[in-house]
């Protein structure tokens, strides 16, 4: 474990991704330190989701390597510099250290809230039912939904569903959390409750990568902001720099457009 302290939590090295002829990510290199909160901003179609999905290997990069706490995602390092692609079962094991929250929640509709949260700990980690339930109830209390433990997802509002989805991801005790536009599918009045929960998680020292269009939230919660356009990192730095004093023309254009949209 002590050697892992020297590794970044997430390390992307020249990651590229193409869908057929479309080059979506172009040699992206990005390190996220342990406990760091990084927000990714950028216009629609710039490759933000794809980058996030490459981090937990829901998407396979065409080139480049991603390491999570030093562990090369999707590969076994057979010899220094020689990587053998792992079977899906082993990639699944690697993913257990990474939690992900989706724009559209993706709760399991045939399971109650409690069942949604304990499913992976029971089946994947082999936790006991009593232990998993106790932890799930703690998490439900933390996201303010203790009363909903026996409800089914369709009986919940979008904001409640997203809070359950966060609890479900946290139940695996991941070392890194990925959020892909967690509030974009929500009615405006429900955004706040979800952002509150995410800020709360960030205060616990969790390493987080957040794709979001909520600029002021990104400013408050992030240690660092990355602006992506057209599959490349345009600008990156502390929020006071990237959001309040952007150096690049493209960043300025994007931010002013988002602010106009918020005022409208």
């Amino acid at each position: 474990m002590s050697t892992q302290l020297t590794h970044p939590a997430v390390s992307c090295l020249e990651v590229s991704k193409s869908f057929a002829d479309l080059e979506v990510l172009r040699a992206i290199s990005l390190d996220v330190a342990q406990g760091e909160v990084v927000s990714i901003l950028g216009p629609s179609g710039s490759g933000k989701s794809t980058l996030l999905r490459c981090m937990n290997r829901l998407e396979q990069p065409t080139r480049g390597l991603i390491r999570i706490h030093g562990d090369p995602m999707g590969y076994l390092e057979e010899a220094p510099g020689r990587f053998r692609e792992l079977p899906e079962r082993d990639v699944a094991r690697q993913r257990r250290q990474i939690g992900m929250v989706f724009q559209r929640f993706n709760l399991f509709p045939h399971m109650s809230v409690l069942e949604n949260i304990i499913e992976a700990p029971l089946r994947v980690l082999g936790s006991g039912k009593a232990e998993a339930t106790e932890k799930a109830l703690d998490l439900l209390a933390r996201v303010g939904l203790s009363a909903k433990r026996d409800a089914y997802p369709e009986q919940l509002s979008g904001g409640q569903q997203q809070r359950v989805a966060i609890a479900r991801a946290l139940a695996m005790e991941p070392r890194v959390m990925l959020f892909d536009e967690p509030t974009s599918a929500l009615d405006p009045e429900l955004v706040g409750e979800v952002l509150d929960v995410i800020s709360d998680v960030s205060r616990s020292g969790m390493t987080m990568v957040i794709v979001t269009h909520e600029i002021s939230f990104a400013r408050d919660v992030s240690d660092r902001v990355v602006f992506i356009d057209n599959g490349s990192i345009v600008e990156m730095g502390p929020p006071q720099q990237v959001i309040d004093h952007p150096q690049e023309e493209r960043t300025r254009t994007f931010l002013s457009r988002v602010k106009q949209a918020e005022l409208a």
Partner: protein, 281 residues
């Protein structure tokens, strides 16, 4: 003072409909005609029907039909699941085998298929198990394996399995892609993802069509009378061949087919309600 407060109260009337009352009258006379015929036409021979309906021979035939349905149904469901999994596999040879199987089952009429399987020995006299181009490890005469019963079960499951395979595949494809992504993101291996997340939702979607197939199977068992396997229809045929009471005996078979089909439809509704946990639609 506003305009509304002085206006006379409005009266809203439904649309005029002359067609529905006429249809009711037509329906009434149709039902009346059938009922009168049932009671007054002596050729129904209700005395013969009541004599045979719960006779030992008929009940034995019915039991065989039910046994054939149950066995073919269970094997057919298993084959259907495997076929769906193969058609959705990322391995091309598995997809090809499943596609050819489905094409065959669509192309060959059920009656022809059952006959073909029953007379399979004429094509392959001995069933041999072993490696290609080497002497077989096991060799048995085909006729000893493919009895009437075996031919019946193989023929019925062949058709049912392919059909259910397509239904299950449709069910799997109807599950939102986000479900699989969420399961994978939680670190679930592929088997857990399929069994715990995808399959329960796919089965829910497949239940109505699948249950229909099982009910059809119950009636399709009558096809195996072509190879002389003694189920309900064959039993009935063998009796009227002797007594010439054709209509009343066919009626006996129909009554049993209808009664059990109604029962199965009730079970289908219960099952669908149970499967819809967490879905209000």
């Amino acid at each position: 003072m506003t305009m509304q407060s002085t206006a006379t109260p409005v009266q809203l009337l439904p649309r005029r409909d002359y067609v529905t009352p006429v249809l009711w009258v037509v329906l009434f006379f149709m039902v009346l005609g059938v009922v009168i015929n049932l009671f007054t036409n002596p050729r129904w021979r209700w005395d013969v029907v009541s004599q045979y309906i719960v006779s030992e021979q008929i009940l034995a035939g019915l039991a065989t039909t039910l046994w054939l349905t149950a066995l073919s149904g269970i094997v057919g469901i298993a084959i259907g699941l495997v076929t769906a999994a193969m058609r959705l596999s990322k391995r091309a040879p598995l997809r090809m085998i499943a596609s050819v199987y489905i094409a065959l089952s669509r192309a060959i009429p059920a009656l022809v298929l059952i006959l073909f399987i029953y007379f399979f020995a004429a094509l392959v006299p001995n069933i041999e198990i072993g490696l290609p181009f080497l002497p077989p490890l096991i060799s048995v005469p085909t006729n000893s394996v493919i009895t009437q019963f075996a031919a019946a079960v193989i023929g019925l499951t062949f058709i049912l399995g392919a059909h259910l395979g397509e239904i299950f595949r449709g069910g799997v494809l109807s599950v939102d892609k986000g479900q699989q992504e969420a399961a994978r993101a939680l670190g679930m291996p592929p088997s857990t993802t399929q069994l715990r997340v995808i399959l329960p939702q796919a089965i829910r979607v497949s239940t109505p069509a699948g249950a229909n197939d099982l009910i059809s199977l119950f009636k399709n068992t009558s096809l195996v009378s072509i190879i002389g396997y003694t189920e309900l229809l064959t039993t009935v045929q063998s009796i009227y061949a002797r007594t010439y009471e054709t209509i009343p005996l066919l009626l006996v078979a129909c009554i049993w087919y209808m009664a059990l089909t109604l029962l199965a439809m009730g079970a289908q509704r219960l099952l669908e309600r149970r499967m819809s946990r967490g879905f209000s639609r």
